[in-house]
């Protein structure tokens, strides 16, 4: 199985953790990101995730490879949901196995931060008031007189995890 995986339906984090276990490892850190019932002051009813699968898998794998190169960790995995999710459902899971706890904590943090920043996955929130919106996208409209010079992303972070 690839170290970065996309799942159209609920996945079992316990199975992913068991697959990381190894006698040489004494420290396991996992992160679970679940769907929260509010964002930026609005009540959220449910979510939808959309992925550009081939590039998301490739970019996810690059992040995991970079984490392994940067930290003394033995095994890593990151799983991300796509499709419709209800409040409380598991959206993203990161698992790290290492000899010692310190590097495992650092690598786990590194992986989730980078996954949120660069893997092509998008999130649409459906609000209690019936409205909906794509997180990080709704303020990116072309200004009428704006010249079109490509540049970096805005630094919004309104994600649930």
């Amino acid at each position: 199985m690839n170290r970065f995986s996309l799942h159209e339906t609920a996945f079992d984090p316990q199975r992913l953790l068991e697959a990381l276990r190894h006698p040489s490892c004494g420290g396991y850190v996992t992160f679970e990101g679940t769907v929260r019932d509010h964002n930026e002051g609005r009540a959220v009813r449910r979510l939808e995730y959309e992925a550009f699968a081939p590039l998301a898998l490739r970019e996810g794998e690059r992040i995991l490879a970079a984490a392994c190169a940067r930290f003394a960790v033995e095994r890593v995995h990151c799983a991300h949901r796509t499709g419709a999710l209800e409040i409380g459902e598991l959206a993203v899971w990161v698992g790290v196995a290492a000899k010692h706890r310190g590097e495992a904590f650092d690598a786990c943090r590194y992986i989730i931060d980078h996954v949120k920043h660069s893997v092509p996955i998008w999130k649409k929130e459906y609000y209690e008031d019936g409205d909906s919106g794509w997180v990080n996208c709704e303020h990116c409209a072309t200004a009428p007189e704006l010249t079109a010079a490509p540049g970096p992303h805005p630094a919004h972070d309104t994600c649930n995890s």
Partner: protein
């Protein structure tokens, strides 16, 4: 008196074009892909002409239009193509050309052939930059095969280094810029402008839309014919035609399922995706 071995032609097209991020064989000059230009240039001057490729390129329709010689071993670079050609037709000499020489002209090749020294291992031009041999517009004689194979067996793969240590006829370039090559999108833009403005040409492109852009476009993907030459030009067109409202400074570009550049040249059959700000996690 035995005549010198006849010359076959080989155009190298197996390069990975990593800096260009585009298959250099397909870059167009004056509306014609470079592989076709190189084959048109070499074919009248040699007995038979071939394209050199990696095994995974055999199914590429543009390369399939020509007789092909496939690398015997992967990852050797140009010297692997030269070796495979000499190996396939060991009785012939090989005029070998790179596929990224947009300024190369017939006179430069005719001069090389006229000054060929068949008793030596190869005939090549000196670089106008450092006087070293130019390996990718040169004639390799049949006798060079064992020497090249010994060179590869030593773990070497630089054909320039091999030429500079071998018995080779070296010529001065009659046209100084004939062997200037093109490695980056910027160099390509300058070269294609100089070689001849490409005739306005329509490419078949596939576009994929995600998230808010998918909703604005009203579709997840489409195939279209367009005169757009770069992702930037394509996005400008789609902003008008599909009502895309996200400003490009917030987007990233992907070409053929890999992150790309707003200014990279697009080719027929490319799939382009414009990626809104991501929000995983």
């Amino acid at each position: 008196v035995s005549a010198a071995p006849g010359i076959y032609g080989l155009v190298l097209s197996g390069g990975r074009s990593t800096r260009m991020k585009r298959d250099k064989a397909k870059l167009e000059y004056a509306g014609k892909p470079q592989l076709e230009r190189a084959m048109d240039l070499i074919s009248p001057l040699v007995e038979r002409s071939f394209v050199s490729l990696r095994s995974e390129q055999r199914s590429d329709p543009q390369r399939a239009a020509y007789e092909a010689i496939t690398d015997l071993k992967p990852n050797l670079g140009p010297i692997g193509g030269i070796q495979a050609a000499l190996h396939a037709h060991p009785q012939n000499a090989w005029l070998v050309l790179a596929c990224d020489l947009p300024f190369l002209d017939a006179a430069t090749l005719q001069h090389l052939i006229a000054r060929r020294a068949p008793a030596r291992l190869a005939t090549a031009y000196r670089s106008r930059f450092d006087d070293l041999p130019e390996p990718l517009c040169a004639i390799y004689e049949p006798a060079s095969l064992p020497a090249i194979e010994a060179w590869i067996a030593q773990g070497e793969n630089c054909p320039r280094k091999w030429l500079s240590r071998s018995d080779v006829e070296l010529l001065a370039l009659p046209e100084l810029r004939a062997l200037d090559n093109v490695n980056t999108a910027e160099e390509y833009a300058a070269a294609s402008a100089e070689v001849g403005a490409p005739a306005v040409q329509r490419r078949h492109l596939n576009v994929r839309y995600f998230a808010l852009l998918r909703e604005q476009a009203g579709r997840g993907s489409e195939a279209l014919q367009t005169e757009a030459r770069t992702p930037q030009e394509l996005y400008q067109q789609l902003q008008r035609e599909r009502g895309l409202k996200l400003a490009p400074e917030y987007l990233r570009v992907a070409v053929n399922d890999e992150f790309g550049d707003w200014h990279q040249p697009l080719a027929d059959g490319d799939t382009v995706a414009f990626l809104p700000p991501v929000a995983g996690g």
